[in-house]
Amino acid sequence: MRGRRSDAGPTRREALVVAAAWLVGLGARRAPQQPDTLAGGGPAGRLWDPARAGQPLAPVTARDNDAAIQAIEKQIRCTCGCNLDVYTCRTTDFTCTTSPAMHRRVLALAAAGKSGPEIVEAFVRENGVAVLMAPPKRGFNLAGYFVPSLAILVAGAVLALVLRRWTRASAAAAAAPAADAAAGPAATPEELERLRRELDRLSV
C-alpha cells in the first residue's frame, strides 16, 4: 500500500515544476495589475478579476446626489420587478440595469428643463400609473387612502355609542338594588373614593 502511494504520488521534481509553473502563471495573470496609489489619487490599480465585483459602474456625479433628483426617483417604481423605487434600487441592487436606465432618463428630463411633477407625469405616460410608488390621490384611489381611517372612525363612533348604552344600562341596573339597600348604612363619597383607591392599589 505504501509502495503504491509512493508510485502514484508526484515526485519532488514534478512538484517543483508544477509549483514553478503555477508561480509563473500567477505572475502572468497579475502582471497587468498596477500598484495601489494611496493618498493623492492617481490611477487606481486594476482588479485581478473585475467580473467578480459585479457590473462596471460609472463614477458618481453631483447630479446623482441631487436631493431633488432623489426625491423624484423615490416616487417612481423601478420596472425590473423588484418593488423598490428607482433611487433605492439603483443604490442597492447593483445588478439591475433597469433602474440606472430610469435614472438616466430622469436626469435627461431634468436637463431638458422639466420640473419634478412633469418628470413623474412623463413616466406615468410611458409606463402607466403603476410606475408610481403610491397611487395618485384621485378617483377610486381615494378609497385606498381614506377607507382605513374612515372605517376606524366609524367603528370608534359605533363603539362609543355601544359603550354608552352599556354604561347606561349598567347604571340603571345598579340603581334598583341601591334603592333597596338605602335602608342600610350608606358610604360617603369620600369613603367610596378611598375604597376605590385601595382596590386600585391592591390590584397591583
Binding site: D36, T37, L38, G41, G42, A44, G45, R46, L47, D49, P50, R52, A53, G54, Q55, P56, L57, A58, P59, V60, N65, R77, G81, N83, D85, T91, T92, F94, T95, G128, A130, V131, L132, M133, A134, P135, G139, N141, G144, Y145, V147, P148, S149, A151, I152, A155, G156, L159, A160, L163, W166, T167, S170, A171, A174, E193, R196, R201, S203, V204
Partner: protein, 674 residues
Amino acid sequence: MTVLGTLALWLAFLVGVWGALAGFLGGLKNRPDLAASARHAVFAMCGALLVAVAALEWALFHHDFNVEYVAAYTSRNLPVFYTWSALYAGQKGSLLFWAAVLTIFGSLALVLTPRRHRVFFPYVAAVVSLVASFFVSVMLFAANPFARLPYTPLDGSGLNPQLQNPGMVFHPPMLYLGYISITIPYAFAMAALLSKRLDADWLVAIRKWTLLSWLFLSIGICLGMWWAYVELGWGGYWAWDPVENASLLPWLTMTAFLHSVMIQEKRGMLKKWNLALIIGSWLLSIFGTFITRSGVISSVHSFTQSNVGYFFLFFLVAAATASFALYAARLPLLGAEATLESMVSREASFLFNNLLLVGIAFSVLWGTLFPILSELVQGTKVTVGPPFFNQVNIPLGLALLALTGVGPLIAWRRASLPNLRRQFAVPAAAGGFTFLVLAVAGMRDFYALMAIGLGAFVLATVVQEFARGTRARHRQYGEPYALALGRLLARNRRRYGGYIVHTGIVILFIAFAGMAFKTETEVTLRPGESASIRSPYGWTYTLTHLGISQYDALNRQVTAATLEVRRNGRRLGILTTEKRQHVDALGRPTFQPSTEVGIRSDLREDLYVVLGGVVNGTEQAVFRFTINPLVWWVWYGGMVLALGGLIVMWPGGGPPAVKRTQAGYAVRLVGDAR
C-alpha cells in the same frame, strides 16, 4: 429515502383524514374510543411527518441532486448550517416544515394541557389533523418535496446568497412557529364552539399558546427586520412588502386578543369578540401563507401561475365559512356576564386599543390587497409602496402608542376624576416636557416629535407603576426596595411583564422615529481618497478608501473594499464591505454578485457602507454611505419585547388566590349559568 419520505407523507395524510373524522365524531357522539383514536392519530401523523423531514434532510445532506428540491436549493459547497436551513428555504420544504411542526405542537397540546380540559381534546385533535392533512395534501398533489428530476445534475443551484445569513436561519422558523402555533388556540376555540363550553375554560387552556404564538411572531418579525437590514443593503429594515405585511397582520390581531382576553377573564365580557379575534388571527396566518405562495399580490393574473395558490384559496374560504358559520350558530350562548360600568375604565380603554390594533391590521390588509382591488375595479394596476403605508399607518401607530400609556393608568370598572389626576399627572408632564425640549432644541419632524414625546409618556407610566408597586410592597411587608421590586415582578408576571413589553414597544417607536433623520450619499473613491458625511448629531464622518482585495472563500469569490473611518478627525477603525460572487463546487457562478454591507453601530447611530461596484475594473469604487440614527435600539427594543413576553408566559407567577380570581367563573358552564 425519498421513497420513504413520499410514503410517510401518504401515511400522514391518511392518518390525518382519519384523525379528523374520528375527532369530530368522537366529540359529537361522545365516543371515548374515537376520541382516543383521534388523539393517537395526531401522534402518528407527527411521527410520519418527522420521518418525512428526516428523509428530506438526508437527501439534502447527501446531495441527492436527482431530487428536484435538493438541486434547486443546495450545492455541494453550501455550508452545513445552510444545508440544514434549506429545509424551509423553498415552498415545498416549508410546507413539510409547517405540517411537521403543527403536528408536534398538536401533540404537545394534547399531552401538556391539563386533563380537566379533556372535553376539548377530540375536537382539538380533529382540527389539528384536518389542518395538517391540508398541508400534506398540497405536498402530495401540487408541491411534492420528494419529486425527482429526469436527470441528475453534477451540482445543485445553491442557496440564494441573501438566504446565506444567520438571520435567515432563525427568522423563517420563528415566523413559521408563530403562524403554526396559532392553530392550537384556534383548535381550542373551535372545540369550545363545538362542545358549547363557552365559558373561560378554553381561554385558560390556550393562555400559554397565545403568548407563545405572539412571542414567536414578535421574535420572527424582529429577526426579519435585522436580516433585511444587514443583508439586503438598502439601508432600512421595513419596506411594507406583502410578505412583511403578512407577518404583521396576525401579530396585530394576537396583540389585540392578549389585551381583550383580560376583560373576559376579569369581567366575563367580550366573549364574542375574543373568539372572533382568535379565528381571525388563524385565518390571517393562513392568508399570509397564501399570499406569499400564490403570487397573487404582484398581479391578479400571476395567480394562475401557481396551483398551490388555488389550494390555499379554497382552504381559506372553506375554513372561514365553516368557522364563522359555527360562530354565528353559537352567538346566543356568548352573552356577557357583566356590563361596562363606565366609559372611563380600563375595559373601555382596552376596547379602543383593540379598535386601533384591528384597525391597523385592516389598514395593512387593505393596502396589501388594494392593487388587486384596483385592478378589478378600475382595470388599472397600481403600486402600493412605503409612501402609502407610512401616510396611512403612522398616525394610527401614534394613537396606539398613546393608548399604550393610557390603558394601565385607568382603573378597572370605573375611574374617578381624582384617580385620573393622580395617575396622569407625572406621565403627562414627562411626555409634554420631552416634546417641548426636543421642539426647542430644533427637532422639526412632527411624527418623530410625537413618537418620542408619547414614548416618554408611556415610559413614565411604566416607571410610575413599578415605583408605586414597589413602594406598596415596601410599606406593606417591610421589604427592601430591590427585593420589593423583584417580588413585585415575580408575583405578578403577567402585569409587570406586560409593562416590560410596553417598554419594548416604546423603544421600538423611538427607534423608528430615528429613521426620519437618515442621511445618505453616493461617492466614487480611488484608494487613498476620502469622503465626508455629516451626521444628524452634528459630527462629521470621514471615510478613506484603503483599497480592494479579492480572494476565494468557501463557496464564494469575494471582492472586499476596506475603508478607514474617522469621526471629527478621531480614528474609529476599519470598515469592510464586500461583493460576493457565489459559485458551485465546480467553480461556476450560481447567482448574480451580492453585496455585504459594512456596518459600524453604536447607541446613537449606524454608519452603513455599501460597495456598489468598481469603475473600469479598477480599485476606483462606488460607495453608498448612509447614517441611520437609533437603529441599534430597534434590536434592543425587540429584545426587551421578547424578554417581557417571556416573563409574562413564565410558569408560576402569583399566589393561587390570584389565579383563582383570574379564572373566576372558569368552572361555571354556560348551561349552569342559565
